[in-house]
Amino acid sequence: MPEHTLAISGLHKRFGQVVALRDVGFTVRPGELFGFVGSNGAGKTTTMRIVLGVLNPDAGEVTFGGAPITRQVRTRIGYMPEERGLYPKMKVADHLVYLAELHGLSSVDARAATQRWLGRLGLDHRRGDEVQKLSLGNQQRVQLAAALVHEPDLLVLDEPFSGLDPVAVDVMSDVLREEAARGVPVVFSSHQLDLVERLCDRIGIIAGGRMVAVGSVEELTASAGAELEVVAPQAEPDWAANLPGVTVVAEEGPRTVLRLAPGADDQAVLHAALATGPVTGFTRHRPSLVELFRAVVTEDGGGSRHA
């Protein structure tokens, strides 16, 4: 279903003296959950607001299904802004019906969709209450319903998991998986990297307004290289120092921790280790997303963003 691919390319945005985005680009395919991670101020929200047309880029373009995002396409996007926003004094059901109608649903369809989402998110009994009377967790659920009530073809969610209790996190995860399963490209930003790692098909890391890594979790962690822990009791110190593509991270008695450069052969390391005598332990660690994130973010740094 190529017609439902979101493609972002070459986005530049500058606010006064501050360059917020430099050449930001990535694609999200239909049915794909795309995790957008980065430090605060890295450019996630700016990128999402540009996708929604709330902000105009200085350069670059956003396409959906190969065509620029027009106003017509925009009404088909489900959006959850970083700063949550609903009318505090409006009743939950009225609010959702209103938003659904503003997105082009007929009054009847809007009511049906509202009913369905209130049920799905466990908000049925609060339908007649003012939004401001709900707990923060429930307000979050209403916010999610607001993003979904018009059956969008694309979901753009800014920090959908922030402030949710564990039960709500599960509900949110399930809903996002379901939406992706019906062919919707889903982009969401989050600081909860373990969650992103578990949930997302692909991940984009942004730092200092630049995309520093885009790919599946496997691709990213593989390309970032792996760590090997070798236990070789009879090995001489520095036994691994001259192996190609290998950096010694730590040596503590019989235990040696090595970092493999991307593409380096771990079997060569094992041979070298066996050559020293018995090998009682040989473990390969894939770096977690957290470690990967730390590595790329500190490497690329947030600094020097001023034009």
């Binding site: 439902h4 607001r49 929604l52 047309g53 709330v54 902000l55 105009n56 106003r71 017509q72 396409v73 925009r74 009404t75 088909r76 996007i77 959006y79 802004p81 700063e83 949550r84 926003g85 609903l86 009318y87 505090p88 004094k89 409006m90 009225d94 209103y98 938003l99 109608e101 503003l102 997105h103 082009g104 649903l105 607001a146 059956e151 073809d153 379901e178 399963a181 019906r182 062919g183 919707v184």
Partner: protein
């Protein structure tokens, strides 16, 4: 599993505006505050009318007690009183003691004793000037009748009747009409109601804009509707709520005024109501985008007052100056000039139309000038709103909002 929606149904601009306006009406018209404020304004208006009604009848009614010979002037007294606008009610009073008691009890305004040709009047503190003139007139007639008879005139009454027919023929250059007072009253009330409606509901537009900014809902809305649609829907919706209140208040006021007899010129009052509605629509649109633009500069409800004040001051200036000039002379050149100044005209012109003499071309000119201002200010205000509505944090300067791009 649900299917992806294939039909990309775009929301027509008119639909978007209607939905936004409908929401404003739904959330404002059925509220307790709308009902309460409408009731309070009607109550104030009713109180004012009651006061007017009592002042009106008090000012024109005198109760006169007559004793002895003076009893014979009851008829002439009523006739002569009517000629000067006095409604004279006469009663017979026994003696001086009874008269004094009735005067002290405020049952009578004056008691007349003695010979009609040389009447003696007992009052509480002072004698009404018109009543004094009437009594003097009657005494003169009595004396004349006697003297004419002595001079051998066979029918002194006929001579007197002829004399009493003498009158001054008056031709007015600019007739104010007997209804002048009523017209002025209706005009002033209309000016007041318009000022109240435009300032109250205009401020509500600013608050509504800030509510959307403060709650950030504006970002979701602007992802699907255009700024101008949101702004227009809001202005139309709130404007209609204000119009509903104006029509209810003015309509109820009109019925009360006519029923209580304070206003006898129901035609003039209905005309005032119609012109009031016309000028409300024009005036509200004139001010609403200004209020919206002002509101869009700030992000918190606490800051609304500070940005709205300059707009309110202009409106209040028109109201106060217009009211004062109109009280002095509704046809004065000052009022006439101000009724053509765009930001002041919506408050002053409808008052002038009701209270004074306005040529048709003047109304047309004022309307055209004001409508031109509506177009210009809507463009300006819309631009400020468009640029400032997504700006969060500190207050935005108007200059930046006029220039800036998102």
């Amino acid at each position: 599993m649900r299917e992806l929606a294939r039909s990309h149904t775009e929301v027509a601009p008119a639909t978007a505006v209607r939905l936004v306006a409908q929401r404003e009406i739904d959330t404002r018209l059925r509220t307790r505050s709308f009902v309460m404020s409408t009731a309070v304004i009607i109550a104030v208006l009713a109180g004012y009318l009651l006061l007017q009604a009592s002042l009106f009848s008090d000012a024109h009614r005198v109760d006169v007690g007559l004793t002895g010979q003076a009893t014979s002037i009851a008829g002439p007294l009523q006739v002569a009183g009517k000629a000067v606008g006095l409604e004279v009610h006469t009663t017979q009073v026994g003696d001086r003691t009874a008269a004094r008691a009735k005067l002290e009890a405020d049952e009578l305004d004056a008691v007349v004793f003695g010979n009609p040709a040389e009447p003696e009047v007992l009052v509480r503190s002072e004698l009404d000037d018109r009543l004094r003139a009437v009594l003097i007139d009657i005494a003169r007639q009595q004396i004349l009748t006697g003297e004419l008879a002595k001079a051998g005139v066979t029918d002194p009454r006929a001579v007197l009747a002829q004399a009493s027919q003498a009158d001054v023929e008056v031709t007015t250059v600019a007739p104010a009409g007997a209804e002048h007072g009523q017209r002025l009253g209706i005009g002033l009330i209309m000016v007041f109601l318009l000022f109240m409606a435009i300032s109250t509901y205009g401020t509500m537009v600013a608050q509504g804009v800030v509510e959307e900014k403060a709650s950030r809902v504006v970002e979701i809305l602007l992802a699907t509707v255009q700024p101008w649609q949101l702004l227009l829907g809001k202005v139309v919706g709130i404007g209609l709520v204000g119009l509903a209140q104006l029509v209810i208040v003015a309509g109820v006021g009109l019925v009360m005024a006519v029923a209580s007899g304070v206003v006898t010129l129901s035609g003039v009052a209905i005309g005032a109501l119609i012109w009031g509605v016309v000028w409300y629509v024009v005036g509200f649109f004139l001010y609403a985008t200004l209020f919206a633009a002002a509101g869009s500069l700030v992000s918190r409800q606490e800051d609304v007052q500070s940005v709205v004040t300059p707009v309110t001051i202009v409106l209040t200036l028109g109201f106060v100056v217009g009211l004062n000039l109109m009280l002095q002379n509704p046809d004065g050149t000052g009022v006439a000039a101000l009724s053509h100044v765009p930001l002041l005209s919506p408050v002053i012109m409808p008052g002038r139309i009701t209270a004074g003499q306005v040529a048709g071309w003047e109304i047309a000119l004022s309307l055209i000038v004001t409508l031109a201002a509506v177009v210009a200010l809507t463009w300006l205000g819309g631009r400020v709103y468009h640029n400032a509505v997504l700006h969060t944090g500190s207050r935005m300067r108007v200059r930046d909002a006029l220039r800036g791009t998102r």
